[in-house]
Symmetry: C2
Subunit: 100 residues, 2 copies
């Protein structure tokens, strides 16, 4: 193949991969929207029953479970943990705002 | 209702909500695993064609699109943007590692 053909082929593959990434991102945004509906309800429940916003034992269980799921799915478990911490941080920020 | 009934009912609702959060997290981890397969392929393609790891124009388009999707899904668009930046950071780290 000429290098022009080669570049055109690479551009085509890149376009397809980006289409898949965009589809996955749309799915992720919709799952996250649902997740925050659930954590919002948890926050309201905790606020009305005067329960603490953070729950270290629950977080520990979530991290262990997600690391295992990540391994099975061929995702870096350290990244899965970082991702969960990223979500939990946002949730706790929202829970504190609910009380304020 | 007595306050014991009330607490038992709150614990039951909390358990259900956490079950939903766990299901959503499993879905998220699997979607992320697929997303990293795609970005890994993009990284390999970029490395073999000597293309730069970051692509600011593409990132701008992704952010605008995800903010719009987030709004439609009732998710904070600022959070959606933060989430995408979190993913892109990881992807760029991986792409740089591929070249190293």
């Amino acid at each position: 193949m000429s290098s022009v053909d080669e570049s055109a082929r690479a551009a085509e593959i890149l376009k397809k991969l980006r289409g898949s990434i965009d589809n996955i991102d749309a799915a992720l945004v919709h799952m996250l929207a649902e997740r925050f509906k659930c954590t919002q309800a948890v926050g309201e429940l905790k606020a009305s029953h005067d329960l603490p916003p953070a729950d270290p034992l629950r977080e520990e269980q979530q991290i262990a479970r997600l690391r295992k799921l990540a391994l099975d799915a061929d995702l870096d478990p350290a990244f899965a943990e970082k991702f969960l911490n990223f979500l939990i941080e946002e949730v706790i920020r929202n829970h504190k705002a609910l009380r304020a």
